[in-house]
Symmetry: D2
Amino acid sequence: MSKIIIGVMGPGELATPIDLDYAEQLGKLIAENNWVLLTGGRNVGVMNAASLGAKSAGGLTVGILPDRTTARMSEFVDLAILTDLGNARNNINVLSATVIVACGMGAGTASEIALALKQPKKVILLNADPVSQQFFCNLSPENLVIANDPQNAIAQIRAILKQ
Amino acid sequence: MSKIIIGVMGPGELATPIDLDYAEQLGKLIAENNWVLLTGGRNVGVMNAASLGAKSAGGLTVGILPDRTTARMSEFVDLAILTDLGNARNNINVLSATVIVACGMGAGTASEIALALKQPKKVILLNADPVSQQFFCNLSPENLVIANDPQNAIAQIRAILKQ
Amino acid sequence: MSKIIIGVMGPGELATPIDLDYAEQLGKLIAENNWVLLTGGRNVGVMNAASLGAKSAGGLTVGILPDRTTARMSEFVDLAILTDLGNARNNINVLSATVIVACGMGAGTASEIALALKQPKKVILLNADPVSQQFFCNLSPENLVIANDPQNAIAQIRAILKQ
Amino acid sequence: MSKIIIGVMGPGELATPIDLDYAEQLGKLIAENNWVLLTGGRNVGVMNAASLGAKSAGGLTVGILPDRTTARMSEFVDLAILTDLGNARNNINVLSATVIVACGMGAGTASEIALALKQPKKVILLNADPVSQQFFCNLSPENLVIANDPQNAIAQIRAILKQ
């Protein structure tokens, strides 16, 4: 049986300090639960922070990169999947993760949440503003979960995996 | 010089009667302006209605299909681009259109708007609810345009093409 | 009913003078038959020559570009499909064309022929060396056709379209 | 630093008994060298046999699936990357592997070899007939390596990794 993969999506260059802090905590907690972390693999923002967090706890990290080389890859990615698909790779992130946590918000992150809800696949929103919460809740109330902090997001993942 | 392509995105099976009416009008007006219509190419919803509208005015229609066959293709598509990419084809829709009109709302449409704003590329929202308008305006206020009806959307396209 | 699309694939920078001459003739003949020409869309080699030929006869040309911009696009492309997929776009070329003509040989062209035979889809080899002919014939003898010159390739396309 | 990934490509349903035997040996040897095995992830042919071999030696296996679900996945895949890209995923296989071994021959395998040589990336041919060897050697002599058996392929991988 293949391993459980948890996707953590979020802004790159535009991530806020709280996004980064939460992403690092998420990565660490995901590793401690023996789940594999999947991100977009770049060396910035939530992708980098989550990968760093997972590696700090001895976890395994997968990066689904938009590029054909590792030039912009996070140093905390164990397995680099080089897609050369640009943003079309966002759909692979969503399909390959069993559960998705969106940490923060931005245009790329929004595309991933929307693609996930279309599958449909469960998405946990962390550190999202009320308008974003309302927008995605309107799109697919049955697949959207709001988490208050990384610990709560992990509890929600556990609940979803038990379903 | 290659032709000007206007993308019309919107819900498939879940399109509302107003979405369909507006999409058909949009398709007709796009053809009358001698622009090429690009849609997701399927035989339902906004994709089908816009293609029908464009053909009724003698326009040229391109369908970027998620599939590897034409089984689910709108009969009003002139040029079928078969991608077999599933929803990853949404990014091609966005990149290939000079301007994008989102007519109605849904998870797939939301992914296309978000991918467009990320480029960044101008997106005109038509028949979107206030929460959707606010959400995408927060993501990229400088690239988002609200239109009141198909005629207004066409006027906005003309303004954008002049920039 | 959607239009008949003929794909012409072949080397870019490494195209030989005969490849280019044949590609231009092919493009012209495809347009004269009222078929739409599909190529990889770049401004070099067989893609460019075939598109030039088709435009010289008033045809319609589609370019499926590997890029997200038109910077490397042939000026003879009417409809630019911007994929940002790199070489993964080769599969779209193959799926979207009803029949494929490979004019000349190279690594990219070989990938397209192989992907086409896998569908399976008919491929006409033009100006291919004997080893290439033998290799692809071994892969899928029932889908491979050898043409001696552009006129013969067009005759073969007509025969395939009648099947 | 990310892990070294070795790609093993080869026929699915049409794999020969020797292809399967070699693929299983390759998978085992790759795992014993502490490299990660990457395949197309399906539950048939070379993909399945190589994954089985790697798991028998305690290795880590990645499967880059053409599908959006795990229905056709090899049970020996640890990390399932679900692309929903059909054969367009072949380019991801090629880009993500540091070295590629093609074990046996078929249309899909040929597309992967051609895409790899186009990068360019080193490809080791195992159990390929003389026409296939000649064809790919003509395409890119400096990137093509012929191996006589799985042990020799591993020796060639080691030599390439030292470059």
